[in-house]
């Protein structure tokens, strides 16, 4: 998988991104380029700005300084282009955030209907295909409150995919899940990665990172402390801090966690 895709164009370019909340500087100049088809896994201690970084990309959080480009398009908060840019970026949240009042199918269809003005019938058909893709077709008529965490997260992935995004952002998609439900979500993400989706994933699931990531980014204290291939970061990190952190999450999450059917 790794290196299977030609790393062609950079699709996402983050340049010297800064963000402060009140007096605490959370992002202190992050620069990162993600190529088309690449899977980047971001790891780092709690509170280090991983979520903030993802949220700055689609402007759920407004950065203080720095530029972000999606393709050739500079992402800015001028209202005119923001909804356009967000359509091209799929986001999956830690706590799913499915729309509670809609069925799984409606959750997936609502984006194409409201945002892309697709007609209802086509949108529902598309939604059904996306649900099939994540193995949730049989729960299409269920409401979020009737689904398990893993099922919710798969529907949330389908919801993002229905917008046909150029890049997908995942913010700790499995950390709100019971351990036995993590596998089904990682499996879907793995399939997505194999299909060539560009992905930026904040996750401490080592098994997933090893198998699916092209690059691991170790974010600490608001800057990228180290970055490299999974082999390098996991086996031969340059920095002592990286090594410490890796062994810490290996202890917490298991060194090769929950990837179904991969037994390494």
């Amino acid at each position: 998988m790794k290196g299977e895709f030609l790393m062609t164009e950079p699709i996402l370019r983050i340049n010297n991104l800064h963000k402060k909340f009140k007096d605490t500087e959370v992002l202190k100049g992050v620069t990162l380029t993600v190529n088309e088809g690449e899977v980047v896994v971001i790891i780092g201690p709690s509170g280090t700005g991983k979520s903030t970084l993802l949220r700055c990309i689609n402007r759920l959080t407004e950065p203080d300084a720095g530029e972000i480009y999606l393709g050739e398009h500079k992402i800015e908060s001028a209202k005119s282009n923001l909804t356009k840019v967000r359509q091209r970026i799929g986001m999956v949240f830690q706590d799913f955030n499915l729309f509670n009042h809609l069925t799984a199918l409606q959750n997936v269809a609502i984006g194409p209907i409201k945002v892309k003005k697709m007609n209802k019938k086509d949108a529902l058909e598309l939604a059904m295909r996306e649900l099939e893709r994540v193995g949730m077709a049989d729960k299409a008529q269920n409401y979020p409150a009737e689904l398990s965490g893993g099922q919710k997260q798969r529907v949330a992935i389908a919801r993002a995919l229905a917008m046909d995004p150029e890049i997908m952002l995942f913010d700790e998609p499995t950390s709100a899940l019971d351990p036995e439900l993590i596998g089904e979500v990682l499996e879907v993400m793995k399939k997505l990665a194999d299909a060539g989706m560009t992905m930026v994933v904040v996750s401490h699931e080592m098994g997933f990172a090893r198998e699916a990531a092209d690059r691991i980014v170790f974010l600490e204290d608001g800057v990228i402390a180290e970055m490299g291939s999974p082999e390098k970061i996991f086996n031969n990190p340059e920095k002592e801090r990286t090594r410490e952190f890796i062994s810490k999450i290996a202890r917490l999450h298991g060194s090769d966690s929950e990837m179904p059917g991969t037994g390494s």
Binding site: N58, T83, N97
Partner: protein, 223 residues
């Protein structure tokens, strides 16, 4: 003994007359509720999502109205009206009730909107919806459901408060009760009868709102 029965009968014979008043009571209530709900919901949206002018307007409006006795608002509108544009008593009563309830409904809807998890709005925005679309397609369908029991309670208050219209001489249920009580010299019995009528209306309304609530309940969700 016979005397009491005669007079009691007199009151009972006035029930159709009282019921005609119910029609006016309901008219006042329904119109005031419709106007008050529209204004309350709109101002709640201003309060939560509006810029600072709309936000502050909603806050100040709600605070002022909620600190005035309803009767003061009724008289203010009536006399203001009669001095400037001559609002008929009926409309003075309706508008006063509408203003009064709208202030409380701002708080009901604001609470319901703010009770929706922030992640719902973020997920909608992340899909590329505008703020307006997010509010109408995602936030309101959920928060309006949550508001139903509180709104229903407020609606019964409006129904009962519509009795205030009697001070303007509108012949709604309360005013007619007063006439009947004076004519029959049976105030106690009369007011028990009109009390029962209010009770029945309130009960029927509360019951049907509970039905609505369970009908639109989101499967699997508590509350």
């Amino acid at each position: 003994m016979g005397l009491i029965n005669d007079k009691a009968f007199d009151v009972l014979r006035s029930i159709p007359y009282l019921l005609e008043g119910v029609g006016i009571t309901l008219e006042i209530t329904v119109i005031a509720l419709v106007l008050g709900t529209i204004a309350g919901l709109f101002l709640a949206l201003c309060r939560v999502y509006g810029g600072s002018f709309l936000h502050n307007f909603a806050v100040v409006y709600s605070r002022i109205i909620r600190s005035l006795p309803l009767l003061v608002i009724v008289f203010m509108l009536y006399f203001l009206g009669s001095e400037i544009i001559n609002i008929p008593a009926f409309w003075a009563a309706v508008l006063a009730l509408a203003m009064h309830t709208s202030a409380y409904q701002i708080e009901i809807f604001r609470g319901a909107i703010q009770s929706i998890n922030k992640g719902q709005m973020e997920a909608a925005l992340a899909l590329g919806m505008s703020k307006y679309q997010s509010i109408f397609a995602v936030i309101l369908p959920q928060s309006l459901r949550r508001a139903i029991p509180y709104w229903a309670n407020e609606a019964t208050i409006v129904l009962k408060d519509s009795a205030m219209a009697y001070v303007l001489g509108i012949t709604e249920l309360m005013r007619r009760s007063e006439y009947v009580s004076a004519r029959t010299a049976q105030p106690m019995l009369t007011y028990i009868v009109s009390g029962l009528i209010y009770l029945i209306m309130t009960y029927a309304f509360t019951k049907s709102m509970a039905k609505v609530e369970s009908k639109v309940r989101i499967p699997g969700l508590e509350r």
